[in-house]
Symmetry: C2
Subunit: 323 residues, 2 copies
């Protein structure tokens, strides 16, 4: 949900320092993000191709949600992380697509009437409002399943890497998305509605519900770029801190933003009695926490050279640009 809500991320009121002025001047993040998102979208459109066949309606529903725009933050992180350790965009592109497909499936299923029952997503009717609940459920199932197909069949990764690295990326992605990761987090979230949660429980929830896919994107990308174990450990720390910072900022936006600004109903968390960072810590302390987390993410990149600048910039500006 980050991307939809963060259309007006400025309003979270979090400000952090970016990299050095020289680095910032040499690097146009807006341009970078647009160019990378376009690459990802081209690959996604080719990977989930429209079809006139008998299951054409399924592919249409899959593409409706998959090609609905957004900043493509997770896949861009996967590509940037691969490049940060000396790999190529090509090596990580199928992973990037698989991650965006899994992110999209989770949004489609989260929006279902039996879950969050949302009518709008990125300002458009949600999948089940357009295609009905049955097709939306199946479109989510297919996006999830096909994500593993795209990754396992990745000809670039197979050509450029030992099969073992690709197997490890598949296992890591399934871990992040399954009962120990996103789905488990969603269940904790569902069952936690209306009851109090302490800060540790809230962090555990978010590390599974949203953090795990950030970690899979960053570590998977690095793995496919040939990362060393110590690079992987540092990037895991970066991704965990960045993912949590996003969640804190999402919670802040949920309190502050209006429906017009973000394209979906807001402040629903509070209405449902869900625990949030602002409800547990207050707004000011939540902003401070987001800044601290971004600082942790930046610090994790200390040993990396200029090729990690996109990761640095993504963290620095994530909280104040339209990520």
């Amino acid at each position: 949900m980050q991307e939809a809500k963060s259309a007006n991320r400025d309003s979270a009121g979090v400000r952090v320092m970016g990299p050095s002025a020289a680095g910032a001047a040499a690097f146009d993040l807006d341009h970078y993000l647009k160019e990378r998102a376009a690459l990802v979208e081209r690959a996604l459109a080719a990977g989930v191709a429209a079809s006139e066949g008998p299951a054409g309606r399924l592919l249409e529903a899959m593409r409706y949600s998959l090609m609905a725009g957004g900043k493509r933050l997770r896949p861009v992180l996967a590509l940037a992380s691969c490049e940060a350790v000396g790999g190529t965009v090509e090596a990580a592109m199928d992973l990037a697509c698989a991650i965006e497909m899994i992110h999209t499936y989770s949004l489609v299923h989260d929006d279902l009437p039996c879950m969050d029952d949302d009518d709008l997503r990125r300002g458009r009717p949600t999948n089940h409002k357009v295609y009905g609940e049955a097709i939306a459920t199946l479109a989510g199932d297919a996006l999830l399943t096909d994500a593993f197909k795209v990754l396992a069949r990745s000809s670039a990764a197979r050509r450029m890497l030992p099969a073992q690295a690709l197997l490890d990326s598949i296992a890591e992605l399934a871990d992040a998305a399954g009962s120990d990761g996103m789905v488990g987090g969603q269940v904790i979230d569902l069952l936690g509605e209306g009851r109090s949660m302490d800060l540790g429980e809230l962090e555990h929830l978010h590390s599974r519900k949203t953090g795990a896919l950030f970690v899979a994107a960053v570590c998977g990308g690095a793995r496919l770029g040939g990362a060393t174990p110590s690079q992987l450990a540092a990037l895991r720390e970066y991704a965990q801190a960045l993912g949590l910072a996003f969640q804190v900022i999402d919670d802040l936006l949920d309190v502050e933003a209006s429906t017009e600004a973000v394209g979906k109903r807001t402040n629903k968390d509070q209405a449902r009695g869900k625990a949030t960072y602002p409800s547990l810590l207050g707004i000011e302390r939540s902003r401070e926490l987001a800044r601290e987390l971004i600082g942790t993410a930046q610090a994790a990149l200390t040993a990396f050279d200029h090729r990690a600048d996109p990761l640095r910039m993504l963290a620095a500006f994530a909280v104040e640009r339209k990520l």
Copy 2:
């Protein structure tokens, strides 16, 4: 749905010849099936372990459907196919579990109110009747995702095989389960309700909805057993014919069996105006078709030695025993 409906498979009235009398005497299929199903169930129970943690309810819901019994036909086929080409049960066990997890997820989602809206499965309340729609949807999502984790992390397969063979099995399983396979078939089935379908369309539907997973079980098992390309081609033919035979027999049972005998409501297909083999071909011609398909499956195994006897027996008795 095969397993639930087939509790009274005798009533389909299909009889075929088994292997030679000597072979049949030397091989106790009932004992074989029970022993193999027990092995699979032990591995499944270990792979999806109960948990007291915050997501314990999710694991409980996953296990409720996964450990609900049944003949475990698909995983037993995977093991038998691995052995038919000289592999070990151990090499294919994680694949067998992954396939049963995917089969189970598909049943949980198929039973949802927005899909088939079934209250009973194998004589017990369906997952969403016990855990609610949200948890049932998520339990299905987690079974599907964790299936890929189990397969990608398979230490036996990693130890015994080139990583490439395991990658190929993952890709083949995702193909069978995704938009080109099961999910696509389910969409064709849903959208086909109430409209006429010719025999070619019906066969295409079933090859995707149920046949693809039979093929993934048999070919995946053989791949992990070190099959040659020509063995894989023969086993694909076996699996395609066997999968279709099962569907024809399911349709026959749906017409003939009563609710008491099979533990779920029957003759629903006809009530919904779904095309079935008996509705297109009549009962007698449908029985004949099932016999022909079993003959095709048997013929595909001609070049295999006695290690393929379990596959032969499974085909021969599938239609008249309680498979």
